[in-house]
Structure formats: C-alpha cells, structure tokens
Amino acid sequence: MPNMIVCVKQIADPEAPPGSFRVDEATKSVIPASGVSQVVSPFDEQAVEAALRIKDAHGGKITVLSLGKDFVMDVIRKPMAMGADELILLQDPAFESADSRSTAYALAMAIKKVGEYDLIFCGRQAADWDAGQVGSGIAEFLGIPSVTVAKMVDMVDSKVKVERVVVDGSEVIEVSPPVLVTVSNELGEPRYPKLKGIMAAARKEVPTWTAQDIGADTSQLGAAGARAKLLKLFVPVKEGKCEIIEGENPEDAAVNLALKLREAKLI
C-alpha cells in the first residue's frame, strides 16, 4: 500500500472579488482584505483529492505537510477532514521570506524526515503567487522523477500512471515510485469533507516541526536560501471605459450591439 505525502498551502481565498485586492507597494506585500477568509489553495485540494482516489482504490496512508504561519486550524485541517491520515505543520521564522527554492528545500527536508514515501502530491501552483515551482523543486531536492500538471493519477501493478495535460490534449506517463506529481484542476472537483471526517480531524494531534526538527541547513532556508528577488509589487491600472449598449429590452440591446460592432468595423 502506497505511502503518500501531500503538500498544501494556506492562502487568502483567491475567489474573493478582484475589487477588494490591494497591495502595499512599500513592503511589496498584499494587504489582507477584510472579510476574505483563508482557504487551502484550490490546486492543493485537488492534490489531496488525487491522493484520496488512490487511497480509495489501493489503500495506503496520506500525510499532509503545510509550511506557513498564522495557520487557521479549521482550514488547514480540511485535508484530514477529507480523509488524509496525518497533518504536520512546518512553522519557523527561519522559513519566512522564502522564495520557491527555499520553500521547496524546507519541504524536501521535512519529507525526508517523514521517511517512507511512494507518491508526493502538490498542486500545480499556489493560487497566490502562481509560480508553480515548489513541486518540481521538491523532486529536484529529493532527486526523484516528477510529472507536472496531472489530470489523473493511478497505480497499476507497481507503477504510477499519470495523465499529464499538454496543449492539445494529454500524455499518459508511466513511472516507478517514488515520484512527485503536481495536480491540475482538470482532475475534477475535490470531495467535500463529511461531518464524521471533520470531527475526526478535529481530534487529531497536529505536530509542528521547526527548521531544527527537519535538520535543515539554515543557509538554505527562507531569505538566506532564496535566489529570486521581488523588486516591485503593484496592481495594474485598468482603463475601464466600457460603453454600455442600451435598448428597450435585452433583444433590442443585442440588435444595437450588433450595429455597434459593424460601426466599429469589428465585423
């Protein structure tokens, strides 16, 4: 039965209305909008779902890792409520101000401490910084193969079979474990936690590991291990000059729109 690890990130809800989004250009950070809740990054929930589908079919154990700070426990326990077995939090000031590289390093070190693994799942990208580097980076630090942007993952005999999304369709890839897979939204909707699962998850102990616990080289962590520098963060200005085409009724407005498109030589 496969040992599986899923890496998830807690972020501000990316579905929040764009109008509420603000940044502080001086500190190059996002100003938390009031009323926007924290969630598990959606692609990471799909990574959890991919692991759960394998567990449904073949059994096995799922350990969830999350690196971050200011964890909202009800939120970050969600993968366990969905059916994962364990959750380990990685929290240490040494992990902060990381780039994708130093984040991947810390997660790889934590995975080594977890020990045995056949499959590691990550979301294809975190829905905040959208870089999509950490999954591949973990595989690189662990020296194992990676398959990115998966829409289907299964185990057939002792092999892992991954359907990977490419521009004009998909490719089916076969690989021997251990392997790291990043999961895309094409996998389908993640399951909702059931009440029983939520209650069981709430009772579980959640250990927190520090840099020392995972035996990390602090020169590789956080800002020290980062190679990318964010020089500027800003919200692009939108012109917002939409001409609303009116009419007696929707049908009439549609006719006026057609005439407008002809007038503007767009058709």
Binding site: P14, E15, P17, P18, F21, V23, S100, R101, A104, R124, Q125, D128, W129, D130, Q133, S136, G137, A139, E140, P145, V147, T148, V149, K151, V167, D168, G169, S170, E171, V172, I173, E174, V175, N185, E186, G188, A226, R227, A228, K229, L230, K232, L233, V235, P236, E243, I244, I245, P250, E251, A253, A254, L257, A258, L259, L261, R262, A264, L266, I267
Partner: protein, 332 residues
C-alpha cells in the same frame, strides 16, 4: 559570474516546426541581447531538427546549438534537463528563457534549482535594468490581480515567457549565424518516465489560439447544451468557442478550450464574453484580446471593467438576437 555572457532561448519544436512561442521569444530576446550588446543563441533539442536552424537564424538567433538524439524526440523532464544542464554549463549564458508551456513550466524550475539559480515564471514583460544590467521579469501574481517585478543575481538569470507576450521578428533570410552541434550525452537509463500514450483532443474548425473571433462562456451559461448557442455565434463569425474554468471543471465542455491562467492564452481581435464574471484568473488568458464585448446580467461584474462594449442582460435573451442580427449584417 562575470564570465556569463549572452542571451539563450530554449527552443520548442511542434510537429517538426519551431513553435510560435520560440519565435516570439527570439523576437523578445533579440531586444534584450541588443540592449546588453550580447549574442542571442537558440538551443534546439529533438530528433532530426537540423533543418530548423536557418529559420532560427533568420528570426534573430546569432548561434544555434543543436542537440539531436532520438531520445529527445519527445519532451521528458529527465532527458531535457540533462541536456539543458550540459548546454548551459558549456555555453554559460547570462540569461536563459523558456516558454511558459507544458515543457517550459515543467523544465524551468528543476533546471533553475539544479543550476542553483532562480527563474521568474510566466513573464509578460522582460527588460534590462539600465543601472544594474540585471534582467527584470514582470509576471502576473495573485491570479492576475497584481504584477511582480523579479530579478536574480545568480546566473543564468532565468525566466519563462507567456505565450503571445512578445512579438516575433520579421524573418530576414540574409541574417548570418553559426550552427553548433552538441552531443546529448544521454543514455536510456537516465530517463525514468515513459510516455505510454498520447491522447489528442480533435479540434473541429479553427483552433482557439488562431481564431480572430472568440465567443467565451462562463459559469452562467448553466449547461453543456447551452454552449450550442455559443457555437452558432462563433460559426457565423468564423471564430471559435472558449470557456472559463467552471464549465470545464463541470464537464460541460472539454478542458482543452479553457481560457485563463491555467488554460489557453489567446489574443483575438474580437472577444465576446458571455455570462462570465471576468475573474483575474480568467482575464490572464485574454489580456491580449483587442476588443472585449461583455454580456452579463450583473452590471457590477468585473468583465464590464475590461470590456469595450457591454450589454447588461440575460444572455439567453441577448445572444439569439445578437446572433440573428450579426447573421443579417454579415450576409448583407
């Protein structure tokens, strides 16, 4: 590090031709190389790719490094990373660009970490800082709500480039360049993955990426059947149908027509957005659209901030009337 010189583009080949993104990157990278007064090179990996070198030179490359090996016929992480690591160590470029494609987004992070450098993913703009001479990569972050400008002091400075973010150079067959062959150094045991099948989504009619007119439906369309009405309008306009993420995730339409940050990137002349809110995640896929037309019953929908023309109303009433009138106008 001072010895790293030149701008290098990691090329992609699709069905025996240089991919559009590769020509776009050559165009954008030419400007970077000229600003720095450095050379522009292209790496071509594949099987039987030697015939593409003259096009690469005509489109801006000063040097083309060819790595030809049957083991490179398909993109696989393990083979391409070994070759790129070898080429980069041999040539020692200052800047290395890859496409933000299935290949580039897979290869770039692993390659960057192996080379102990950083990569700015999905850049829409690249420039050279006049003082530091570092490459500045601008990329959408937070689902397109913000932009981040990144740099790195390690070499090579790496970025992946979004499709259609840069203009290819006009082909000039009088340009001269050099072709250099490099041994792949691969043996089959290095490749741990195996492609066992390729499932190609058949496209009926014009390809979404090539269409001048795109009719795109969102969550508000409500059902797979209702997408037929979008097809009808697209057909009249000689265009293609796209969708936002929810209709794809709900299985109403194939995910190959998804437009957005995690889907296709398009830049049509006319983009008719039907019953979609215009989330940043979606707009990331069509920022290059020249004229956005919004049809939505919610006057507060974000799409009206992006659109040139809009109709506030139920698409079920608006779309048939619009289709009818456009048909009449186009027939006349």
């Amino acid at each position: 590090m001072a010895e790293n010189k030149g701008v290098m583009v990691c090329g992609e080949i699709i069905e025996g031709k240089l991919a559009a993104i590769t020509l776009e990157m050559l165009g954008g990278a030419r400007a970077l190389a000229d600003t720095l007064g450095e050379e522009l090179s292209l790496v071509l990996m594949g099987s039987g790719v030697g015939n593409l070198t003259s096009e690469a030179i005509a489109c801006g490359a000063d040097k083309v490094y060819v790595v030809d090996d049957p083991l490179l016929a398909d993109y696989q992480t393990d083979s391409y990373i070994v070759v790129m690591e070898k080429v980069v160590k041999q040539v020692a470029p200052n800047i290395l660009l890859l496409g933000q494609t299935a290949m580039g987004r897979d290869l770039a992070p692993r390659l960057a970490f192996r080379l102990d450098t950083a990569v700015a993913m999905d850049c829409i703009e690249l420039s050279i800082d006049p003082d530091s001479k570092l490459m500045l990569g601008t990329r959408p972050v937070y689902g397109g709500n913000a932009r981040g400008v990144y740099a790195s002091e390690t070499r090579p400075q790496m970025a992946t480039v979004r499709v259609k973010a840069m203009e290819p150079k006009e082909r000039d067959d009088s340009r001269k360049g050099e072709v250099i062959s490099i041994e792949s150094g691969l043996d089959p045991s290095m490749i741990r993955t195996k492609i066992v099948d390729k499932l190609k989504e058949e496209v009926v009619g014009i390809k979404l990426e090539d269409a001048e007119a795109v009719v795109c439906g969102g969550r508000g369309i409500g059902s797979p059947e209702a997408f037929q009405d979008l097809e009808t309008l697209a057909k009249i306009l000689g265009g293609a149908v796209g969708a936002t993420r929810p209709p794809c995730d709900n299985g109403w339409v194939p995910s190959t027509i998804q437009i957005g940050l995690t889907g296709k990137i398009i830049s049509p002349t006319l983009y008719i957005a039907v019953a979609l809110s215009g989330s940043s995640q979606h707009m990331a896929g069509c920022t290059g659209a020249k004229n956005i037309i919004a049809i939505n019953k919610d006057p507060e929908a974000n799409i009206f901030k992006e659109a040139r023309f809009g109709v506030v109303g139920d698409y079920k009433k608006v779309l048939p009337a619009l289709t009818e009138k456009l048909k009449e106008l186009l027939a006349g």
